[in-house]
């Protein structure tokens, strides 16, 4: 198995998840009276569609806003403005009771397997509680489903009686996955699910996620830090920088012909084992990531971009679709290639 995944036809279905102009700002408070002196623009205008059955990868440096975006979708953060449309329903507008029903369909897998499971609860309670609360399933039925789920994620059902601390990191992540899948959701937001795990375990978990996607017809928003895992999992990838999407393309296209300098720099930063395959010309970024509280004028990337021009300093590029390659969008005045 490889990363050969066919891009899904965009126009075929209606999107399962649609983000329109999503902004999430955090106020910065200083001074004696905690006055708001500025905003941290964690997510600054995201438009994205996720179609049923696909995996959209979200990649970027720490602080680019991808985790914030993930949490905003699932409702752990309240967005400042914009719309989050799930199956056409705007999640920011629904009532609390409505939202509770919708939660059955959107789930999350968390990054840290050591803190995402309540240390005082047995595994059986961790998995069956959502079943009781959200789907009103009886005890016996829930127990059966729980044991099946354990087997599905590769753990023995005997483990149901144990506590989280009796499991390793990788096993705990499997439990977290079992919990997320238990409700048979339609969309799962994977918030860097393998970043905290040993490299040897990462592949196993990623494979598990793929199997589950096939089996249960899941749609993933895969938020990742490492290019390798995102590439492996996704049909399409969105590259984020300082709260905005700078490039969005099917995975093959992105890797064979990236258009945005930042994307190229990300790839180039990845060490290639075979010296003969190494690119002689690497795109190296200068400087540090600017603070999200005061993003640069014009194109946000211009302060670090080796190809920046005066236009880049003044005018902010808009994410536009390539005229020849449908489905490939980028925000750059002077794209590569």
């Amino acid at each position: 198995m490889s990363a050969m995944r066919m891009p899904i036809e965009e126009s075929a279905d209606k999107p399962l998840l649609e983000l329109e102009g999503v902004h999430k700002y955090y106020p910065v408070q200083k001074g004696k009276f905690s006055k708001t002196v500025g905003q941290i623009k964690a997510v600054d205008g995201i438009n994205l569609q996720v179609y049923p059955g696909e995996t959209v990868g979200l990649v970027g440096e720490s602080g680019c806003g991808k985790s914030t975006l993930g949490r905003s979708i699932i409702g752990l953060e309240e967005i400042t403005s914009g719309k989050v449309l799930f199956e056409g329903r705007d999640l920011t507008q629904v009532s609390n009771t409505e939202m509770r029903k919708l939660r059955r369909d959107i789930q999350m897998i968390f990054q840290d397997p050591y803190s995402s499971l309540n240390p005082r609860k047995r595994i059986v309670d961790l998995i069956t509680e959502p079943l009781h609360v959200l789907r009103g399933i009886s005890d016996a039925e829930a127990l059966q489903q729980a044991s099946q789920l354990m087997e599905i994620v590769g753990l023995s059902a005997q483990g149901l009686g144990k506590y989280p601390h009796e499991f390793s990191g990788g096993q705990r992540q499997r439990i977290g996955i079992a919990r997320a899948v238990a409700l048979k959701p339609k969309l799962i937001i994977c918030d860097e699910p393998v970043s905290a795990l040993d490299v040897s375990i990462q592949a196993q978990i990623l494979n598990l996620l793929k199997e589950l996607q096939r089996e249960f017809n899941l749609t993933y928003l895969f938020i990742g830090h490492g290019l390798g895992s995102v590439k492996y999992m996704s049909n399409r990838i969105a590259v984020m920088y300082l709260g905005k999407v700078v490039e969005l393309a099917p995975v093959q296209t992105l890797f064979s012909s990236p258009r945005h300098p930042y994307t190229r720099a990300l790839f180039d930063a990845y060490p290639i084992p075979n010296p003969h395959l190494r690119n002689k010309e690497r795109m190296v970024l200068e400087g540090d990531v600017p603070s999200p509280a005061s993003p640069p004028q014009g194109c946000r990337f211009h302060t670090r971009c080796p190809l920046a021009s005066s236009k880049c300093r003044e005018e902010e590029p808009i994410l536009t679709e390539d005229t020849f390659q449908k489905g490939h969008l980028y925000a750059c005045h002077d794209p590569l290639g």
Binding site: R71, I74, G75, L76, M99, R100, R103, R104, Q107, M108, F110, Q111, D112, S115, S116, L117, N118, P119, R120, K121, V124, D125, T128, E129, P130, V133, L134, D139, A140, A142, L143, Q144, A146, S147, Q148, E151, I152, G154, S156, A157, Q158, L160, G161, K162, Y163, E166, G176, R179, L183, N207, E211, E215
Partner: protein, 311 residues
């Protein structure tokens, strides 16, 4: 890769389903959190000694009617008679048997300790949990209220309140509880604030659990440690406070016996110098009970300390 076929169950799961509840099922390995705490606790020799003594005191208070030689309020001997074979600890100034009064007073003190703590832990936990979870202006308001309450030196407030509300056991309990809840609320608020940020609580929120379910089912069980320690030391403090109050004459009123008001007798110089049986026994038993409870509290605190590696 294991079978993905949802129809077939495994041998393990069918065994589970057959007539068992989710909580207790055969074949599951049980390593209970409380069992681990218990194991650590018993390593603390003094704490165990404390539990033994406390157990004895509880037993005494329960069996009081059967073990006390006389009725505590009945005059059965001469005034302030020294210890004899009839009255092992002598009699008090009115002629009541000191030993019997001592035994019955155990009930009073233990009642104060237990009921007061139960009351203020419940109130404090709820208030603190709300403040910590809800945040915002609710939190700020509650915080200010706690600050105000904690700005008063407790004995002063107790004295004033008792002056205003009147003396007596139930009033004492209410007043002591009124003074104890802010400390617990502050503690719980801190724990809830910290725990609210943990991933497993966020996971619970993502799963759509309601706030009460999250607070009482997930957050508070993890915050139990400090609350329990505080409650134990609080019981000791409550007993001390009650005895101080009763000593001053502001607490439990005679004829009801309390260790503190028995000590009141020592205020007179004759009693102090020539009638030690009047005041030394109640004093000693106060020390004994408070000490035991403090040992237990120490034991609990060490057992629950997350920094200790497993026993």
């Amino acid at each position: 890769m294991p079978s993905l076929n949802l129809e077939s169950g495994t041998a393990a799961s069918s065994e589970l389903v057959a007539g068992s509840s989710a909580a207790i099922a055969p074949g599951f390995e049980r390593e209970s959190y409380w069992k681990m705490i218990g194991q650590r606790f018993v390593q603390h020799k003094l704490a165990v000694a404390g539990m033994v003594v406390l157990g004895l005191l509880i037993l005494i208070s329960v069996l009081a009617p059967w073990i006390a030689p006389y009725d505590p309020n009945e005059i059965t001997g001469a005034f302030a008679a020294s210890p004899s074979s009839q009255h092992w600890l002598g009699t008090d100034q009115v002629g009541r048997d000191v030993l019997s009064r001592l035994i019955y007073a155990t009930r009073v003190s233990l009642a104060v300790g237990v009921v007061t703590v139960l009351l203020y832990v419940c109130v404090g936990t709820i208030v603190g949990a709300i403040a910590g979870y809800v945040g915002g202006w609710v939190d700020m308001l509650i915080n200010r209220i706690i600050d105000v309450f904690m700005s008063f030196p407790s004995l002063m407030v107790i004295l004033v309140l008792v002056t205003v509300l009147g003396t007596g056991l139930s009033n004492i309990i209410i007043v002591l509880a009124l003074l104890g809840w802010p400390a617990v609320a502050r503690l719980v608020r801190g724990s809830v604030l910290t725990l609210r940020q943990t991933e497993f609580v966020k996971a619970g929120q993502a799963l759509g659990f309601s706030a009460p379910r999250l607070i009482f089912g997930h957050i508070l069980p993890n915050a139990m440690g400090p609350i329990l320690v505080n409650a134990t030391f609080g019981a000791a403090a409550a007993i001390l406070s009650e005895s101080s109050l009763s000593f001053l004459g502001m607490g439990v009123q005679p004829p009801t016996a309390s260790w503190g008001n028995m000590l009141n007798a020592a205020q007179s110089i004759t009693a102090l110098t020539s009638q030690p049986w009047l005041w030394i026994p109640p004093g000693l038993i106060i020390i004994l009970s408070v000490l035991s409870i403090n040992f237990i509290g120490d034991g609990i605190r060490d057992a629950m300390d997350p920094r200790r590696t497993s026993a």
